[in-house]
Amino acid sequence: MTGLGVNVSRVDGPAKIRGWAQYTADVELPGMVYAKVLRSTYPHAKLVRVDASRAEKLTGVVAVLTRDDLKGMNAYFGPVVKDQPVVAIDRVRYVGEVIAAVAAEGRDIAEEALDLIDVEYEALPAVFDPVEAMKPEAPALYTERVKAQSFPAKSGFRLESTGNVLSTYHVEEGDVAVGFRESDEIFEDVYTSQKIQHGHIEPHAAVAYWEPSGKLVIYTSTQTPSSIRAQLAELFELPQSKVRVVVPFVGGGYGAKTHPRLEPLVSVLARKAHRPVQWALTREEVFLTAHCQAAVVKLKTGVKRDGTIVARQVEAIYDAGAYALTSTNTARNGGEVAGGPYRIGHQHLTSYCVYTNTPPTGPYRGFGVPQVCWAYESQMDDIARRLGIDPLELRLKNLVHEGDVFVTGDKLVSVGISECVKRAAEAVGWERDKEQGFRELSGKVRGKGLAVMIKTTMTPSNSSALVRLNADGSAVLLTSSVEIGQGTQTSLAQIVAEELGIAVERVSVTFPDTDVTPFDQSTSSSRTIFTMGGAARQAAHQIRQQLLEIGSRVLEADVEDLELVDGFLEVKGVPEKRRSITQLFQARFGAAVGNMVGSYDNQTTGGLDPRTGKGKGSAFFFLSACAAEVEVDTETGKVAVQQVVSAVDAGKAVNPRQCHLQNEGSMIMSLGSALFEEMVFDNGQPINSTFLEYMPPSMEDHPKVFRSLLVETPHPEGPYGAKGVGEAGLGPVEPAIGNAVANALGGIRFRDLPLRPDRVLTAIGSARGKEK
């Protein structure tokens, strides 16, 4: 194996460093006009009147879209339940919901036109907290449950029929009542995670136009082109062949750009305008379009005095915002691993997905897992402290091992978690039984903390790949996987090159274009290298077989004695007996013409039965550990992260440098939500929706020391053993920092994120008060 494990230079590098990389807002089409939208100023209200007649008359306005234009067509969309209207129809459910849209010759004209649209609201009671929203007396966002639903039966969750709880997931093992009775100590706490922004620097954007034949073409910054195509086709009652979705480079997604968001509206507007329409969001609008679900996690754990975890009961409540999107899946995803990567005989895990009058969410890197990981890993250290057991020892004692059966019923393979946490602890300079000692709360104090995580990937799922070999021995991989920055165009090329025995530079990978590239479920869930990589490998393998067969005839050798090396087919051990790929084409076609094609639909199987919560939860599991060291200024409450170590089980690192870069990205992102990021609302009004008031971490916030370690326990079903890495490093970062802070402060535990200086200082003050 040659191309794998090599830090091949990114193929998209040359374009990106010149500023030539095309993103969606760069797309310019003849006659293109610009869209701006009018957004609700109420968190929950009936839409009494929407009058856009004055806006239509403004010079330069080409089309205006209101609910009146949705009559006679499907008006609702959504990947799980079709609860989201193209524009608000009878009511608005969050501040920022789109009520009307204008397409105009200039963005400034479009904005001015919005000022001319009259809206009359009738305020309704609203609810902003998911725990409150679950109560029967809470204001209901939906008077009746949306009928139109489409999601695989084995998605694990059950849709509820009434109320603000949209869906529930539940799984059990053993009997927690028995387990708690058998426990020596019980720990019961509530942990919260805040609403945060994904923070992709490229805002959402889409450009749509209709061909005269009635075909819809849309360029969009999305992670899910095939899903967009399917949902737009359904919305407009078109065959999928009459909807074309094209995806250029995407400037970061992290889950915020999954499933239709801008696409339905911009497509309807383009149809009315009879012109291509570009809709690019401002940053403020991104805050209103996608964010990470806040969560409240109630965690009860029973342990033996020797540290064995006997029973764990979790109730995780996820705030879905006003529209479902895939929050149902997020909640299930967190719920199924809410017990953590531990052998626990009695488990009772429940998660809820709850509507509130806040903006829609998007799966955020980690897909519901960081919220539960924050809870179970924070509590783990409290357990260690009370029992007097070293936190590393406590984890090693309880972690899952290869072959264990997980609570979902999955048999675990490729389980490098113990090695991850040991190596992370070693790298951070962990000293056994030292971290949880006494600390004097004065001046600046230091502490180290550990955390581990288990996470699933979207299962079942489907990725198709098509490889075309040209007569000159170069190849093209046709794929709908999106280059969102993770280097997929490069790593997939490496896999195809490896399989065909050609140089990586001779493989090019397409951008998604649903007219041309085959189906992909989603570029998310860190699934691309595993599922699309697997498809690409199989597709290339088919071509490999074709080449070997031709070669065996031409060289009069057995297929088993042949190999593909550097663009040549050779007899093993007899390098003089060889043919170039071009010669093989000539042997097959009579001339250097034609293609050899390989195509593979990689369908991973599984899913969870909603009645039991069990089945096959994941095609592969993410396992990772994090170790952090912090310094806390006890006079100001400010936490400074000194060093972070991320240890991730990658299965097999196709491009090690890329894996490390993903870990670094996971780390700095999570550091932000651990220490200071949070979306703030005042009675449903977002009050910090700009980067001035919500800043992602900067270079100065990056710890001086960061190390990324890759553990490789090859996965039998991954291409060359590879598993996903994109999200793996993120989950344990928040609790590692939280545990480091707790250890620095002699055991002061914070259960709510972020670890704001004022919260820390108040807690230190209380602790000092208690000491006296």
């Binding site: 400034d108 100001t636 409450g637 910090n688 008031e693 200086p757 200082l761």
Partner: protein, 286 residues
């Protein structure tokens, strides 16, 4: 952003003429604050008066007798990087250096910064500590106002509608002064200050001859928490520093915002004032 008209005077005089004659016009210098308000639709001017086409108005001059004069159109970066400022007013250079990022510092003008009077800003506290004044010009006359009096509150100054802030004036510095500026952030290190403390100490033969401590970004306007009267002629011991710091916490009137609660800011001020003064004294002793 929505459309507007623009007038582009070529001189301060011409700009003053426009202000005197026209109503409903708004001055724009660096634009780093105003354009955001326009983009957000919070402020919808019909006509902007663009000061960036004025030749001059940004000179920085210094003389030992008169001190520093900074043209209102000088950028924050101009100020922080000019040798006479770095040498004679390091406190000002420090406070300017921590403003936002290099791009904003290149664009934002000191006149704009002071006239906009955003309370979450660094230069004002340092300038009040240095005893600065501003020069305000209209068509008929030029007047000087102490900066401490000019800055009334959050987004509130004593600038008249027909006036331009044409210069910042800083008195000659005293010799043997030690100073420090602390910008404290509670979120990203790129954030605006939760609190800023400017401290100046002239400490000679164990006698504190002069000390000024000004707290910025906490209250609607910078607050002088320690002055001549408080410390003149007294040895600046660590006990006295602690006392001054405690008082400082009571003298400020903190605004509750995303960067900190009222109580937190009060606590923080006590700590930062103590650290700022201690730092100056240590520097003087060395």
């Amino acid at each position: 952003m929505r459309r507007f008209e623009i007038l582009e005077p070529k001189s301060i005089q011409e700009a003053c003429g426009i202000l005197a004659e026209k109503e409903d016009v708004k001055l724009i210098a660096g634009g780093t604050a105003l354009l955001i308000l326009i983009k957000q639709g919070i402020f919808l001017p019909k006509t902007l008066v663009n000061l960036k086409k004025i030749k001059g108005g940004s000179e920085i001059t210094y003389s030992p007798a008169d001190g520093l004069r900074v043209g209102g159109l000088a950028s924050i970066y101009d100020i922080e990087s000019t040798p006479v400022v770095r040498q004679h007013y390091p406190l000002l250079a420090q406070a300017c250096h921590v403003v936002a990022n290099i791009r904003i510092r290149n664009m934002a003008t000191i006149g704009g910064n002071l006239a906009h009077a955003d309370y979450q800003s660094d230069p004002p506290a340092a300038l009040v500590a240095l005893g600065a004044s501003v020069e305000l010009t209209n068509r008929n006359r030029v007047r000087k106002v102490k900066l401490a009096d000019f800055l009334i509150g959050s987004y509130e100054t004593s600038l008249e509608p027909d006036e331009l802030l044409t210069a910042l004036l800083v008195p000659p510095p005293s010799p043997d002064t030690r100073c420090t500026y602390i910008k404290f952030t509670t979120r990203s290190s790129e954030d605006r200050p939760c609190a800023g403390v400017a401290a100046l100490v002239r400490y000679s033969n164990s006698i504190c001859e002069e000390a000024r401590v000004v707290v910025g970004a906490v209250s609607p306007a910078p607050v002088v928490v320690a002055d001549q009267d408080r410390v003149n002629g007294i040895k600046l011991t660590s006990d006295l520093i602690r006392e001054i710091a405690q008082e400082a916490g009571e003298l400020v009137d903190p605004i509750d915002d995303l960067r900190g609660t009222v109580d937190y800011k009060r606590q923080l001020v006590k700590v930062l004032v103590r650290r700022a003064l201690t730092g100056c004294v240590a520097e003087a002793a060395a």
